[in-house]
């Protein structure tokens, strides 16, 4: 059991950092192992936001000379960015092992991603004009405070509270997943994919890369692969109902859209509130109520339902 939530403001930016934190904290009982946010801020200045980490939180407790290694890994990443001609306009330490860079780069994002992830322990969490992907161990309040998300302003976002069942409790297995190497695309999922290995092998043969053994990562890679082949987000999500086995409800966010798909058995919950200016979805209504305490009309999307909203 995991919890997922998402929202999109269609009338301009709002305090989505605080809203997503409140919603995910209300879903804490569905998964206290880790929490993740994919939130979309101002994309107007043409720069990319690069979120990456060079170690896991648990490495700090067990690694030998890990603090020195982290510094060396980050220096290596900085060196490689420079060698690719990346202009780092701002660099922030979100934690000792996770960073937020604003960069200017006109080259191939896949080449950039591969070169950075070649550094030991390095993993790119996201690259986007508006997307910022943050995930770590702990509940929503812990992660939000750790990464100072309370004041984040933006138009839309998705998030996840994870109860680890299929893979480890670490950042690598936490959601959301970035749809490597596409900027601004992220996925969260609640459920279990039963043809994971079959589809993973098919996608790997097509050149796609996986960083974890978490079945939910498949949805991000699958979405990226479909978009690479020219499908729209809605087409990709509709196709997933046919091609992906198991029980699932998942959300996808892009630079300007929020999508939702529910499997053929409708076995995983989703509650939806929709108005002209705001769409809010969550595994449980209690999450929606955490930001909308007034009486509202909500409903469950049905089996095989795919919806995409644009801001």
């Amino acid at each position: 059991m995991c919890g997922i939530a998402g929202l999109i403001h269609r009338d301009g930016a709002a305090g989505i950092g605080q809203e997503m934190t409140a919603m995910l904290q209300a879903l804490r009982h569905r998964g206290p192992d880790s929490t993740g946010f994919a939130i979309y801020g101002d994309a107007s200045n043409g720069e990319y936001v690069l979120r990456f980490k060079v170690a896991e939180q648990e490495d700090l407790a067990s690694g030998f000379k890990i603090h020195d290694e982290i510094k060396q890994r980050r220096a290596e990443v900085d060196s490689r960015l420079k060698s690719l001609g990346v202009d780092v306009t701002a660099a922030e330490d979100a934690t000792e092992y996770a960073y937020r860079y604003r960069i200017k780069f006109a080259g191939d994002l896949k080449k950039l991603s591969d070169f950075i992830e070649d550094v030991e322990g390095a993993e790119i969490l996201s690259i986007g004009n508006g997307l910022e992907l943050i995930k770590d161990l702990g509940d929503a309040t812990v992660v939000s405070n750790q990464y100072a998300l309370g004041g984040f302003m933006g138009t839309h976002g998705i998030g996840h509270t994870r109860m680890a069942t299929e893979s480890d409790v670490d950042i690598r297995s936490a959601h959301p997943y970035w749809a490597y190497p596409y900027n601004d695309i992220a996925v969260v999922h609640n459920g279990q994919i039963t043809n994971y290995w079959l589809m993973r092998r098919q996608l790997e043969r097509q050149g796609q890369r996986f960083v974890s053994n978490c079945d939910s990562e498949l949805l991000a890679v699958y979405t990226a692969n479909n978009l690479e082949q020219g499908a729209t987000l809605e087409e990709s999500m509709k196709r997933s109902i046919e091609e992906i086995d198991g029980v699932f409800t998942y959300l996808v966010a892009t630079e300007d859209s929020l999508g939702m798909a529910k499997d053929t058995m409708a076995a995983k919950p989703m509650v939806l509130f929709e108005s002209d200016n705001l769409v809010v979805l969550a595994s449980e209504e209690v999450a929606i109520r955490s930001i909308m305490p007034q009486e509202i009309d909500t409903w469950d999307p049905y089996d095989e339902e795919v919806r995409v909203w644009h801001r």
Partner: protein, 282 residues
């Protein structure tokens, strides 16, 4: 105590049917010879004219349910819950006559395991509302989530809006009435009771139903295994009209357009003997 009568067939003579229905419910609550046999031994004497309000905004589900019980213990027969905030497991296990008015929405497992209360909810309910309800009425003004009325055994469970998937799964009695649409697998493994859906029904309606009746006013995506159309008789129409009128859900065009779905009874096997048992008899 209710007992299974002995039959003179071979399997009974060979001692293959030894079950004795000796459960607590059979033993205590349905003895017609005993005065008050239909009330629970620890139920409360309540006065419907004695009314109380409970603001549950800052209460845990356990505190809410304990609060309801304490109010019933002090004789309150009408209780109004305010600000439920879609909390889970609210108003569960009420085995008493009671008028309960919930102003707002409930989360998962609301009003489960109830036997007797009349409940009205002004908002929406989440998954598994009224699971295993045994008697009374529950009326929801807005929508409901999936597994609405799972395994209910009695009473009227009414949602004036639309409901999610697997409505009335494993229902064993009572009536589920839906003003709008219902999702896939509604009536899955239904055993007894009746379900009325004024709107459309999703795929696999009545899949593997053993018995019971489903009435659909709109379109049916498709029927599940062993669910078959039945004849809508005058008695059906009279009953539908009465029930829907009672909850202000009677369509303007009446009920003649409803489709009746029943069990084909081709999957029945729970009364069959196992192959080894058949060999013993032969």
């Amino acid at each position: 105590m209710a007992q299974v009568g002995t039959q003179d067939d071979a399997s009974h003579e060979m001692g293959m049917h030894t079950e004795q229905l000796s459960g607590r419910t059979q033993q205590v609550f349905f003895n017609l010879d005993e005065e008050g046999g239909f009330a629970y031994p620890d139920s409360f004497e309540v006065d419907f004219n004695k009314r109380a309000e409970l603001d549950v905004e800052n209460m845990t589900p356990k505190e809410v349910n304990t609060g309801i019980r304490e109010l019933m213990a002090s004789g309150h027969g009408t209780i109004v819950l305010k600000n439920p905030g879609a909390k889970h497991s609210i108003a569960v296990g009420i085995l008493n006559k009671l008028n309960l008015i919930i102003e707002g929405s409930l989360g998962y497992f609301g009003c489960g395991l109830c036997d007797g209360p009349n409940i009205r909810i002004s908002g929406r309910v989440g998954w598994s509302c009224a699971e295993n309800m045994m008697s009374g009425t529950l009326v929801i003004e807005k929508n409901a989530g999936s597994t609405f009325g799972a395994a209910i055994r009695g009473g009227d469970l009414v949602c004036k809006g639309s409901v999610g998937s697997r409505t009335g799964i494993d229902m064993k009695g009572g009536n589920i009435i839906v003003g709008g649409d219902t999702g896939a697998f509604s009536g899955f493994m239904m055993q007894r009771g009746r379900m009325i859906v004024c709107g459309n029904a999703g795929k696999n309606l009545g899949d593997s139903m053993y018995d019971g009746t489903i009435y659909i006013g709109g379109k049916i995506a498709d029927l599940g295994v062993d669910a078959v159309p039945g004849e809508l008789t005058d008695l059906d129409k009279q009953w539908l009209t009465r029930k829907l009128k009672m909850y202000e859900l009677l369509p303007e065009k009446g009920v003649d357009h409803f489709t009746k779905i029943v069990a084909g009874k081709q999957l029945w096997n729970y009364d069959n003997l196992e192959p080894t048992e058949k060999k013993l008899i032969l």
